[in-house]
């Protein structure tokens, strides 16, 4: 079975080809199906591609998660290749000679990796916690949206399976037993750290955006604009004006939408 090593070699050969015109990004249905953490990741990848000036179209599929080679959305189809998740897509794009981080020095690149790990470890897990562990949100929003694409009784089985998967993951990462105030505190610490790093700059590493900006934008924009029974995460984020400004900046520059819901 070809491993990542072989795939990397074949990706190198593809690097010579330019970005094709029919690249598609696959994600679950936006209106009825997609959940907060997946929406955040999909938006982050969309922001990344726009920052790199790469054309793509969005395709909605109910089984996008099952189609993905790694089991997580979003994934993009570039010619014959199918690549999932932000980190994988960044690697693929770099292989084609396109990079947002080539002006960064080694220390900044190390910082970039560290802060991306921070966002993934804290914000994404907090989102998963709120969606799947908090009973109110799970019953009112998550279970309905996740099961909306399946007929009865398949929707109940899928919800239960997915929830057990998420619980297993959160247990292993020591998040399952956290109380809601603890989750809020982790979130606050994370936002504080990001805010301090961002300082007064336009983007995290100067005045050009990087994948960290895309990731932070994806998560914070989604948190701020998704209506949930509990708005705690959104309220925490609103305490950090520099982060809100970053989100607004990316939105206006790359998404050209005036979204009234944003603050």
């Amino acid at each position: 079975m070809p491993g990542p090593l072989v795939e990397r070699v074949s990706l190198e050969f593809e690097a010579q080809e330019a970005w094709p015109k029919d690249v598609k990004l696959f994600q679950p249905y936006e209106i009825e199906q997609i959940l907060l953490p997946d929406n955040a990741n999909c938006l982050a990848v969309q922001a990344l591609l726009k920052m790199c000036n790469l054309d793509f179209t969005v395709e909605f599929r109910a089984n996008a998660e099952a189609m993905s080679p790694s089991g997580k959305v979003p994934f993009i189809k570039v010619g014959r290749f199918v690549i999932a998740e932000l980190e994988g897509i960044v690697q693929f794009i770099n292989g084609k000679g396109i990079s947002l981080t080539d002006k960064l020095d080694i220390e900044e690149k190390a910082d970039l990796r560290a802060y991306m790990a921070l966002v993934r470890n804290v914000i994404e897990n907090a989102e998963l916690f709120i969606c799947w562990i908090d009973h109110e949100t799970y019953n009112d929003v998550t279970s309905i949206r996740n099961g909306s694409v399946y007929p009865w009784p398949l929707n109940h089985f899928r919800n239960r399976e997915k929830r057990n998967q998420v619980i297993k993951k959160l247990k292993v990462l020591d998040w399952y037993n956290k109380t809601l105030p603890e989750v809020h505190e982790e979130m606050a610490n994370c936002c504080e750290a990001l805010s301090v790093r961002l300082d007064q700059n336009s983007f995290f590493f100067g005045d050009k955006p990087t994948e960290l900006d895309a990731l932070v934008f994806g998560h914070l924009f989604t948190i701020l604009t998704t209506p949930l029974p509990r708005n705690d995460l959104a309220n925490i984020v609103r305490n950090y004006p520099s982060l809100i400004n970053l989100v607004k900046r990316v939105e206006t520059k790359y998404f050209n939408r005036e979204d009234g819901k944003n603050i």
């Binding site: 079975m1 070809p2 089984n63 099952a66 189609m67 399946y150 398949l154 899928r158």
Partner: protein, 471 residues
């Protein structure tokens, strides 16, 4: 008249001539002073029927099996009906051994010409089980089974089976079977099952879990009907990262709720190397009452055998099917489509080798037909005659077939017939076929694919096939 003992062997004979042979009634006896007797002229009637060895089995179902004996009026009739009764008792599934003893009736109510028939049966234990091998679709598998036969005395049984196949398939099922009394021999079966299978020719693997209800009955002594409902949750996923995108698009979970009707008639004399008789199977499946899969699928399989000379058999077979989609919200997945090609179908092609392929993955089609013309002869020069050599046959074949797709373009009936006539695939060849007990056939053929499409995957040369249901 003397005492007549007719003792059936422990293994029930499959037909009356074997039964008669084994009972030693044909006149190849050692003693010289036996005259030829025409059994039909011997007047006889059955006075009493005894069944020994019943413990938990209820009387009424046993009575149903032996009722007919009382209608016999001559000796040959008695023998025939006794044989049929043994077959019916065996089919109940309650008894391990069935022995028959025919004696003149003695005692108070005896009539002249009266006979007393005694069936000696051994009931199954409460729980039986075992490890068997079985042969499936070009793979062998090992089967672990546990059964509780004859639970409540009327032939009901609960069984659980676990099978592991050589092609990484694994099955588990737990079923409850209840036969009913009646002329039409109805029986009900409910089961829950889980099956995992891999289809490398199409690039996917599937896990099916669900429930199945099956109601079977005979509308006449020849035609067997099965009405089934199944509710299956199916998870499809690609086998490797390099699977084609068309297959990747089908990944995910689907729920299929379908009604199936299977009509079959099998009057062949043997399952593996029939020398006369035919087999018809017609299957109709309607999926879509609930769930997100919807289609109407009809399939036909027909086989006829004709003996030219003693051991030379000509066999013709024909199989066809088509699928129609139901409505827009319900889909047909790659797992439900029709596939032909392979050592059990059109030989000379890889399994699922006929039809549309993308990147080496067979995608299946919604209409097909396949036909075969076979000639089975014993081995040249007949080595091992009467013994080992009987297991082998030389086999000459001519296979043809074609596929068409309803869903691809909006076609009318005439168009489909036209598509099915163009671009026919043909292959021919010869080989050796071997019988594996009474359960399977092994074929080793040298194939010449004669006409095929660019996208097909052919398999010229030596091809090996093992299975039960060959085209």
């Amino acid at each position: 008249m003397g005492t007549v003992h007719a003792k059936a062997p422990t293994q029930t004979a499959s037909n009356i001539s074997d039964f008669a042979k084994q009972s030693g009634l044909k006149q190849e006896s050692e003693t010289t002073d036996i005259k030829e007797i025409d059994l039909q002229m011997v007047q006889a009637r059955v006075d009493r029927v005894n069944v020994d060895g019943l413990a938990r089995t209820k009387n009424d179902i046993v009575e149903d099996c032996v009722q007919d004996l009382f209608k016999a009026h001559d000796f040959q009739d008695v023998l025939l009906k006794a044989h049929k009764a043994v077959v019916k008792l065996d089919e109940l599934g309650c008894f391990k051994n069935i022995g028959v003893y025919i004696d003149t009736s003695k005692g108070l109510n005896a009539t002249t010409d009266g006979l007393e028939v005694t069936f000696e049966v051994t009931e199954y234990k409460r729980i039986t089980g075992g490890i068997n091998t079985q042969v499936g679709n070009n793979e062998g598998s090992i089967l672990f089974a546990m059964r509780a036969p004859n639970l409540f005395g009327r032939g009901e049984r609960v069984q659980t089976e676990y099978t592991r196949g050589s092609k990484k398939t694994s099955n588990f099922n737990l079923s409850f079977i209840k036969p009913f009394r009646g002329k039409h021999r109805p029986s009900l079966r409910t089961s829950i099952l889980q099956a995992h299978s891999e289809w490398p020719n199409s690039g996917y693997k599937q896990l099916e879990r669900g429930v199945q209800l099956d109601f079977g009955f005979y509308s006449s002594s020849l035609f067997k009907h099965n009405l089934q409902w199944e509710g299956i949750i199916r998870d499809l996923s690609t086998l490797s990262r390099t699977a084609s995108f068309e297959v990747r698009e089908q990944s995910g979970s689907t729920l299929k709720s379908s009604l199936k009707h299977i009509l079959s008639m099998d009057i062949r004399d043997d399952l593996i190397f029939p020398s006369y008789g035919s087999l018809i199977e017609i299957t109709s499946e309607l999926a879509g009452l609930g769930g997100n899969i919807g289609f109407l699928k009809n399939e036909l399989f027909f086989q006829d055998n004709y003996s030219l000379l003693d051991d030379i058999v000509v066999q013709t077979s024909f199989s066809a099917g088509y699928m129609l989609p139901m409505n827009k919200d319900k889909k047909i997945t790659i797992a439900d489509k029709c596939y032909i090609g392979g050592p059990l179908s059109i030989r000379g092609f890889q399994t699922r080798g006929v039809g549309p392929h993308v990147d080496g993955d067979a995608l299946g089609s919604t209409a097909y037909w396949a036909a075969g013309l076979h000639l089975f002869t014993p081995l040249p020069f007949r080595p091992g005659r009467g013994g080992f050599g009987e297991l082998f046959r030389t086999h000459f074949f001519l296979n043809a077939g074609n596929v068409g797709d309803f869903s691809l373009e909006k076609m009318s009936k005439g168009d489909i017939l036209e598509t099915l006539q163009k671009n026919i695939r043909v292959s021919y060849g010869l080989g050796i076929a071997l019988r594996l007990g009474s359960m399977a056939r092994v074929e080793v053929n040298y194939c010449f694919p004669y006409k095929f499409d660019k996208g097909d995957q052919t398999h010229p040369g030596v091809q090996f096939g093992i299975g039960v249901h060959f085209l």
